[in-house]
Symmetry: C2
Subunit: 350 residues, 2 copies
């Protein structure tokens, strides 16, 4: 900027005024400065601007992982919404370990706000931040005991949708597979349960830490993996599920995750039970492979991109109005009932 000022024979301030379009300035000087800046290929240093204005245009994002499609899609939505208003995403992946440290480091970098998919079990850390008026929007999971902005799927509605679908298909004795390995069940799965039970009063709840088994197998596995693929891993984790279920005359299963649903189907088939004739199985979207499974799998599609978009927008809004009361936004999911007819048939016949 100094060089431009010198070359144009004006002060830094004038250059700034020309470039920013703010403040009174003579048309001729403005043109001259702009031309010189253009020619010199001048680009403002956003870091310096951030330091001065204490507004960086950086938004910190913390997610547990992005290898699965779940957070990748949410992230896509976040980035899109922010790019549209010329903000940038500072991305960190917590991998179940570093959440708080990462949040701190993002704040050190002077992000304007945070979007966090937290795995925290206690509200203390975030309560402190909120008291310091750090703008935060949580996504996907709520932090237990914390009153803060949240954007997530409406899991209750998802439970209702799946229950209604099963009921419409003629099933009557549903089993609900709770899969959590946490001390307190995950809120989202509890919500699904409530929704599910509001339709099926007689639903049977099978509580078992399948998810924990998968994680343990993954950890222990290391190189000597107990299974080649993740789907096989899920199969291993679910192996014990049939005996406890057998005490209940179920005719359909809500398996919480698509991977589990598929494993459950394989498991049932291995025991000579036909799907969906004898027993129906439904999942809940954590992946988009459901297009490809055999037999077709009915599932709930979560509005992932939309969650990201809404979270970003909420955060931007909060930057303008820091006193906005905290609110939870629960977005409706969509039932994806895979027709069992061959999609190809429909396409090739006509």
């Amino acid at each position: 900027m100094d060089e431009i000022a010198r070359r144009a024979g004006v002060s830094k301030t004038t250059v700034y005024r020309a470039l920013s379009g703010q403040g009174r300035i003579g048309e001729d000087t403005r043109r001259r400065v702009l031309d010189i800046a253009e020619e010199a290929g001048y680009r403002p240093n956003r870091l310096a601007r951030g330091l001065r204005r204490s507004r960086t245009g950086l938004i910190g994002v913390v997610v547990p992982g992005i290898e699965g499609q779940f957070y990748a899609r949410v992230l896509e939505g976040i980035e899109k919404a922010l790019q549209d208003v010329d903000h940038r995403v500072l991305l960190t992946v917590s991998r179940g370990e570093q959440e708080y440290e990462l949040v701190e480091s993002l704040l050190d970098m002077q992000v304007d706000g945070l979007i966090v998919a937290s795995e925290s079990d206690s509200p203390d850390f975030y309560e402190r931040l909120l008291r310091r008026r750090v703008p935060i929007v949580f996504i996907d999971r709520e932090v237990p005991g914390l009153h803060a902005d949240l954007v997530a799927t409406d899991h209750f509605a998802g439970g209702v949708l799946l229950a209604e679908h099963l009921r419409d298909k003629g099933y009557r004795k549903p089993a609900f597979l709770s899969v959590t390995d946490r001390p307190r069940p995950i809120g989202s799965i509890e919500d699904r349960w409530c929704g599910f039970r509001s339709v099926f009063r007689n639903a049977c709840l099978l509580h078992h830490p399948f998810m924990g088994s998968v994680k343990r197998l993954l950890r222990e596995g290391g190189d000597a993996a107990p299974a080649e693929t993740f789907s096989e891993l899920c199969l291993l984790a679910l192996r014990g599920a049939l005996e406890p279920l057998a005490t209940f005359p179920y005719d359909c299963v809500f398996a919480q995750y698509d991977h589990f649903a598929l494993a459950m189907i394989h498991l049932l088939q291995a025991h000579g039970i036909r799907v969906p004739q004898d027993v129906g199985v439904v999942g809940f979207d954590d992946h988009d492979f459901t297009e490809y499974t055999e037999p077709p799998l009915t599932t709930i599609r979560q509005p992932l991109r939309e969650i990201g978009l809404q979270a970003a927008q909420r955060l931007l809004r909060r930057l303008e109005e820091p006193d906005l009361p905290a609110a939870a936004l629960r977005l409706p999911p969509r039932l994806v009932a895979r027709r069992s007819s061959d999609p190809l048939a429909a396409m090739e016949q006509p």
Copy 2:
């Protein structure tokens, strides 16, 4: 920092020395300053530090999209490698449009370096940056005509692996589906072709812009989508592929992408051709749904996370040694031959 200096009764510089652990300082003052800083919850402003040192610890990343698993996984590797050395990822998604602007904006934010999955067809823009000695590592695709660091899959090796696999399975007359919609064929697919042909001298090349069809359908589709799912879309795009192929007595097909491979399988089956008995089909990893398809699909797994890790490490190295000569690192892919036996059988029998 000023406040801590005041409270400790020393100069800012001393506080800095205590906190940074650099320069000589009395043990007692050091302790005192550290205690006060701790108590005051002091955290250094990395933005200011960046401005002063002109080293921000920010790495700009540009990818075309992250909804598919491809770049999400690469990104995971990048983030991991950078997090390990306390650097942060500034993520942007170009969505086939804004690549150059995004790169500029990242530079405005004073990133230390860039990792770019470019869709550019011309080297001019990046050549200018490289002349300005901006550290850049490209991933996945090379920019035509540009001599720069690149980390990517060894597509030639991938082509060889698939060809050898097909040969070992007894196939003799392979068809290679080139799917590009670009003026110049994408380098990676050319490499696959070269590798493939080094094994099968008689391979037949079917050149047709299937990929372009898919994109067009996606664009035109809008709400009135011509197909419910992406897999159906691929099927539509491939419909015309069988006639040109029919002129060649092929007994197997290399379909470039898993989605196409699967669509091809369905297409063949719809025409009464059995897979893999009559015709074998192989893909090339762009997704991890191959675990779930029916019939099983043999494919090449690209070392995506590793690409990210290596790219980040290369960039970090280049930050230290700006004069490193540009180099291409091509990482070996892995053949994933899906056994057609039921994985469950293997697990449940014993």
